[in-house]
């Protein structure tokens, strides 16, 4: 029996069709303007707290659509009917709970409950469609290695001192740490010590007598780079959370770059400031034993360094740092009793102990707080990139220790509330392990994003209709069948994109438009083949049969090569191109299914199992 599909084949096609419709459906519902709340510290938001927030929100004159608490993620999502209410609610929440919670505006998909229960959600729109910022940041690995060398430099010194090996000098030289010793015995002892305690270093003897050259092993260098990247990702993630973005993306790209995407953010200056900054605090004792004036003239005493206060007067500070920002576990900004900006700091155990000991021993002596900021940027000079680095140290306050304190205390002397707020944020989020540079930035405003969606949609619709009309005129009944398959094709593409949650971008939409044009190709091949078969005198039934059979190999060959190119495009990897490759590949695969089996099923229904004299093709 020709031109009849077995029951199971029909069933599979219909199931794909129904599933496709269900998973494409969420895209028809819009978005709810909503506010997302999450904890700004590591402790998760609890049910009781969420309930309280819900009650307080209901006291405000707002039109709350729904209030959802996700206990697993510790997140609250409050949906509203319009953006006015959303903004009002966000302001209210920032004021009432903003100190402990991150408040972010969000556009949450308004997918109905029954669809969400099936795991259906709309396509994930790229930044060029929803608006937002995309940064590509490069981690300065040379700086990370250099920092590690510095650390080993001082570790080796203390290790040698600890076992009482006396050395002539330790210095850095062409990427090596150069140790000059005094005798052969100490040289041997040093080599043994390095072998035992510094396995991650490679040691070689220099041509020069009594000199050892120490270098980081390949393995250790890789470790350091991996650590710098991982640490920076964590820090960036923390900072992004502090900014309050609903669905941020922080992702590794290659072995030394990080992608940061902030949907909905408009103020890129602020975002750049917070992401790229390296700011911390240092607490040091003031050196009151030595004369400041002498230091100004150029002879600072060993163990102290000359600084200048805000008002310009010189001050001598001990080189020894009591605690640094690394030991801060929590920080918040606010005002002290006098009403000037302050940062409230909580230290970890080690930091608290150090601070406790030091303040206990030094009651009555002055202590200084130094604000340290590393500014680093790449400049192009004579076509070469040169990193311009600057360490800015500001003595922000000097105060007499009146009483010993350890875990919690406040630091004043910041210029304005903004500076205090940013410093608190930096301290909370942790420092960057190595400096980062923004090597690519792409910002799309919300108006352009909506424009892109509208224009993309319009081109899909118009292109689709043009193809429909053309096919119907040229191939008549068979054309109509191809059109049904084409519509089916579009629905399944949307469903697959929604299911995979692949990012849909403007070039991605272009890929869909192109697929619409090319998807009919398989049908054109089949229909032309059927026409030929009829021309050489075959019966309509056998023409349909051999038309489909003979065109199949050609269709496969032609599509595999296109798929090959789409894969190369995908591997190419850059955002715009990738989005196009994704939709193109999905489109090709789906079109194979719909154009070969989908149309065959319908054609079989129309012509199968009966006598026909003429085909409308």
């Amino acid at each position: 029996m020709q031109n009849h599909f077995p029951f199971w084949k029909n069933l599979i096609i219909l199931i794909v069709f129904v599933v496709g419709i269900i998973y494409a459906l969420p895209n028809l519902y819009g978005n709810d303007p909503s506010v997302q709340l999450s904890s700004s510290t590591t402790t998760k938001l609890e049910q009781s707290k969420a309930d309280k927030i819900e009650v307080s929100l209901k006291t405000v004159d707002l039109n709350l659509k729904s209030f959802e608490f996700n206990a697993n993620k510790g997140k609250i999502l409050a949906r509203f009917h319009n953006t006015d209410d959303q903004l009002k609610a966000a302001d209210f929440l920032r004021e009432s709970v903003g100190r402990h919670l991150t408040v972010a505006l969000n556009l949450a998909p308004a997918t109905p409950e029954w669809l969400r229960a099936l795991g259906a959600s709309p396509m994930y729109l790229g930044l060029d469609l929803r608006g937002g910022v995309h940064f590509l940041m490069e981690v300065d690995m040379d700086a990370a290695i250099k920092q590690a060398e510095d650390r080993y430099n001082s570790d080796i010194r203390s290790a040698l001192r600890a076992v009482k090996i006396r050395y002539q000098s330790i210095s850095k030289e062409n990427g090596f740490i150069r140790i000059k010793l005094k005798t052969e015995e100490t040289k041997q002892a040093t080599m043994d010590l390095l072998d035992d305690d510094f396995r991650e270093l490679t040691v070689k003897e220099a041509d020069e007598p009594l000199v050892l050259l120490v270098k980081l092993s390949e393995n250790e260098q890789r470790e350091i780079k991996n650590f710098a990247l991982a640490q920076n990702m964590t820090t960036l993630r923390n900072r992004v959370n502090e900014i309050g973005v609903a669905e941020p993306v922080v992702q590794q790209q290659g072995d030394h770059r990080i992608v940061v995407q902030l949907p909905g953010i408009q103020d890129t200056t602020e975002a750049k400031n917070i992401l790229g900054k390296t700011a911390t605090l240092e607490y040091r004792l003031v050196d009151i034993e030595h004369d400041v004036q002498k230091a100004v003239e150029g002879s600072a005493p060993v163990g102290s360094r000359l600084y200048y206060e805000k008002n310009g007067s010189p001050i001598l500070l001990k080189r020894h740092v009591i605690v640094t920002g690394d030991q801060v576990v929590d920080a918040s900004s606010g005002f002290d009793q006098q009403g000037s900006s302050a940062v409230f700091i909580t230290l970890n155990g080690i930091g608290a102990k150090k601070m406790g000991d030091m303040t206990h021993k030094n009651i009555g002596r002055p202590m200084a707080v130094i604000f340290v900021e590393y500014k680093s940027e790449i400049r192009i000079v004579d076509g070469k990139k040169i990193r311009h680095k600057e360490k800015i140290e500001k003595v922000i306050s000097v105060a007499t220790i009146r009483d010993s304190f350890s875990k919690r205390f406040q630091t004043t002397g910041l210029d304005n509330p903004m500076e205090a707020r940013n410093l608190a944020l930096m301290l909370r989020a942790g420092a960057l392990a190595a400096p980062v540079d923004i090597v690519e930035e792409r910002t799309v405003g919300p108006s352009l994003g909506q424009d892109n969606i509208d224009k993309g949609l319009m081109s899909v619709v118009v292109g689709f209709v043009l193809v429909l009309v053309f096919m119907a005129i040229y191939y008549k009944t068979f054309g109509l069948v191809a059109n049904i398959a084409l519509a089916f094709n579009l629905i399944v593409i949307v469903a697959v994109l929604s299911l995979l949650q692949a990012t849909l971008t403007l070039p991605g939409i272009a890929g869909i438009v192109l697929t619409v044009g090319m998807a009919v190709d398989a049908n054109v091949l089949i229909f032309e083949r059927i026409k030929e078969e009829i021309k050489i005198g075959n019966t309509p039934q056998s023409s349909i049969f051999s038309g489909y059979e003979k065109a199949f190999a050609t269709i496969l060959d032609a599509n595999i090569t296109t798929l090959l190119v789409a894969l190369v495009l995908f591997g190419f990897g850059s955002g715009a191109v990738k989005g196009f490759a994704v939709t193109l590949s999905i489109g090709i695969l789906v079109s194979l299914f719909t154009a070969i089996w989908g149309t065959r099923m319908i054609i079989n229904w129309i012509y199968g199992n009966r006598h026909i004299d003429k085909l409308s093709v």
Partner: protein, 308 residues
């Protein structure tokens, strides 16, 4: 359908001249005009702002000049209300702060503030990498195709298809060079898609040539190719028309950002259709294809084409 019997291969000398003229003009234009590369490849900063009313470009240019941005190009983008400002990578200035600075200048002289529609900054190192990766992507796809076609057909066919593809890519790029249209990342994607499309066309023709070589044993190679081209002609044209239809929709309605992408594809689809007829097959003929090359059934036994 009407019976076609066009002597395509008889006109291959004319086609050779035509293709040569296009390719030589493209190469001359590369040498003389070069490509107008977008910031994706050159690096630099691009700011698109939207005004409430038609923007006064002269005022904006003067303001930018005064601030030392002498190399800034200012132009309308799509509508008179939208303005695109481009700045080359600068020496001695951090690029990160550039976009912020530009926005300040834009809004300083405006009665009503312009809104940011788009900011793009691409660091020079990223631009260089993209250029390199783009070239590699072109090479890889060509190489993959060479292997696949050699495996499925025969090496003469794979050379024919790659010659046709290089032909298409050169001419599409040539158009962009001659018309000095901006070549950015999306256009590169379009050029790669052109490779996919043109190849699709070529494969369909080759498939039919292979089939006919096996069934119409007595004809000359040239005749068999002509018959194959005629048999696939209406399919070639139909698919080109439907694809061109959607591309026209995209070029007209898709907006400025996607416009050059659509144009590149349109040119490519046109050239690709031509090359699958007048370049891919004549090359195979010139390489001296004979029936014997295709007579041995190719590895797979299930090849449907081989059935009578």
């Amino acid at each position: 359908m009407f019976k076609q019997n066009i002597d395509f291969l008889g006109k291959r000398k004319i086609a050779l001249v035509f293709s040569s003229v296009l390719i030589i003009s493209s190469i001359v234009s590369f040498a003389v005009n070069g490509m107008k590369l977008g910031i994706d490849f050159t690096g630099g900063t691009l700011v698109e702002v939207g005004y409430q009313q038609a923007a006064d470009l002269t005022v904006l240019r003067t303001a930018l000049d005064e601030e030392g941005f002498l190399d800034a190009t200012v132009q309308n983008f799509g509508t008179t209300k939208d303005v695109l400002i481009r700045i080359k990578p600068r020496e001695g200035v951090s690029n990160v702060e550039l976009s912020t600075k530009i926005l300040k200048i834009v809004n300083r002289n405006a009665t009503e503030p312009a809104t940011i529609r788009r900011v793009e900054f691409v660091g020079p190192q990223v631009g260089d990498e993209l250029t390199e990766d783009g070239g590699l992507a072109l090479l890889y796809s060509m190489f993959g195709i060479l292997l696949y076609v050699a495996w499925r057909f025969e090496y003469k066919f794979s050379i024919g298809s790659v010659v046709a593809l290089i032909h298409d890519v050169l001419i599409t790029l040539g158009f962009f060079s001659i018309l000095q249209m901006e070549f950015d990342l999306t256009v590169l994607a379009a050029v790669l898609a052109v490779i996919g499309y043109s190849l699709n066309d070529t494969i369909v023709v080759y498939d039919r040539i292979r089939e006919n070589f096996r069934t119409l044993r007595k004809d000359s190679s040239e005749n068999i190719m002509n018959i194959s081209l005629n048999q696939t002609l209406s399919r070639t044209l139909m698919t080109s028309i439907t694809t061109a239809l959607v591309l026209i929709a995209l070029a007209v309605l898709g907006g400025e950002i996607i416009h050059n992408f659509a144009i590149a594809l349109l040119i490519g689809v046109g050239i690709g259709t031509y090359s699958s007829i007048y370049v891919a097959s004549p090359v195979v003929l010139a390489l001296g294809i004979v029936q014997k090359d295709l007579m041995v059934p190719i590895v797979e036994g299930e090849d449907i084409d081989f059935m009578p």
